[in-house]
Amino acid sequence: MSDLTNLTIAEARDGLDAGDFSAVELTEKHIAAMEAARGLNAFITETPELALERAGQSDERRAAGKTAGSMDGIPVAVKDLFCTEGVLTTAASHILDGFTPPYESTVTQNLRDSGAVMLGKTNLDEFAMGSANITSHYGNVINPWKGDAGKDLVPGGSSGGSAAAVAARMALGAIGTDTGGSIRQPASFCGVVGMKPTYGRCSRWGTVAFASSLDQAGPMTRTVRDAAIMLGSMAGHDAKDSTSAPEGVPDFEAALSGDIRGLKVGIPNEYRIEGLSPEIDALWTQGVEWLKSAGAEIVDVSLPNTEHALPVYYIIAPAEASANLARYDGLRYGLRVPGDSLDEMYANTRSEGFGDEVVRRILIGTYVLSAGFYDAYYMKAQRVRRLISENFKKAFDDVDVLLTPTAPSAAFAIGEKMDDPIAMYMNDVFTVPASLAGLPGISVPSGLSSDGLPLGLQLIGKAFDEETVLRAAGVLETAADFKAMLNGEGS
């Protein structure tokens, strides 16, 4: 039954319910797949014993005629940014050496409560800072898709390990986090579905913090339906996170009616950036046609401050990061490098513990928050952030959802774009604006580049209207019929 790893979450759930296979069998196949694909470096920590134990408990529940929830017995991977009780949690940073949380993050607890089986902790950019998964202390993740002549490509980032694990059939789904595009961009690069829900939809409690006003957890899966199922089990109000929204969790799967007749789809003019690759532009146009054929009404909209989103993000995110990462002091957890004084111990620990990109962002953040520059940078960025948010609100007076590309390119080779931080930051040009506005966005694999690499299209919705986003995404997915799995080999 080697094709158990090719199932979708929905199919696996139905198979488990029908007794076609057990959760232990399903988990064993995925553990074998995880071990066979170690060359991709998608996992930092594998937890096979724990997975089999939880799978066994799932089988016992089903044998007793009950299930814990919608994910009962489903093997998933967890980005190593979520605290998991008794399991090493690193954020891909040297500074968290040996950190084993005595508690479980709310999102992973929710998944556990719904019966999901954790296979392990996936690799990421250090502290989720990156767009290519090349800043991890635990090494680069390799995209299961290959470039010309078998060249190794980046999986995107920061949730690169999660995207690679789902694309390479190591897990049926994975959790990612998205601060400026860290779920959607790697989903696009690896040919999977990735959804960032509305800010506040999933609790941030127990998630290693990067930029608190932006960080959001979300599902990475092989189908839109699977994203809906998984999001349903992750989401929900949590008193332990004051920014967690006191909203009920709708039945996201039920929103997938396949009917978008009369839906108003906005095409933001400003996303047609100068120098946009013709094949991305063509795919976008194709996406418009698909939705139009399904009965949607296409509306041109304007988001005039789009071009300012990246610079706003690269002030706000480092500012929040510099405050959040102040906690790594060599005292309470993780790495400690001795020094003659307390200050020297802090400085030694932090310089040895943090990688180059993290140091760069902490320094930028410290600078923009420092006396004399706070107004010029940080307050200015927050004011422009409001303009960006208002642009979206105005656009959503006229439309229900927006359609854009997910990323400006397909996956690139390891080593490219590494000399210039700003060229790397450009990866998030289409994903950052919705992050700043806190809006839900999803990347749906929609086509292949001329090199045969996956490309995603992004749908952005109104706050707390994931249902419309998922409904439109389902229609896009059906029209795109993205079946090519790994370099067109199919499943």
Binding site: P102, Y103, P311, Y333, I364, Y377, Q382, R383, V384
Partner: protein, 108 residues
């Protein structure tokens, strides 16, 4: 390849020099080797020059947006609902002694 973002050098904000980087690094409690200061100053200046384009936007009368969450922060009853888990708190400490975190000597 995408075009690089436009730069608006209005002269309001200066690019960083070596000394400033050293000062920020000290504020952030990160030790930066002397030979690394110059290249780092170049990289950080590049990023700051790039974000300077925001100066060209008119934001008069625009309130800063710190959070996209519209709700008033919830309150809870002021009671102790956590704690009593000293061993768990200390479990990950690189060094601890007699139930305390330890630090290098700070009092002469």
């Amino acid at each position: 390849m995408l075009p690089s973002a436009p730069l608006y050098r209005l002269g309001i904000i200066m690019s960083l020099d070596k000394e400033t980087v050293k000062n920020i690094a000290n504020l952030a409690r990160i030790k930066v080797a002397d030979e690394a200061l110059e290249p780092l100053a170049g990289e950080l200046s590049g990023i700051l020059d790039w974000v300077e384009q925001l100066n060209a936007i008119d934001t008069d009368g625009v309130e800063p947006l710190a959070s996209v969450v519209d709700v008033t922060l919830p309150r809870r009853t002021d009671v102790v609902d956590d704690g009593g888990c000293r061993d768990k708190v200390l479990a990950n400490a690189p060094e601890s002694e007699d139930g305390y975190f330890t630090v290098p000597k700070v009092v002469e």
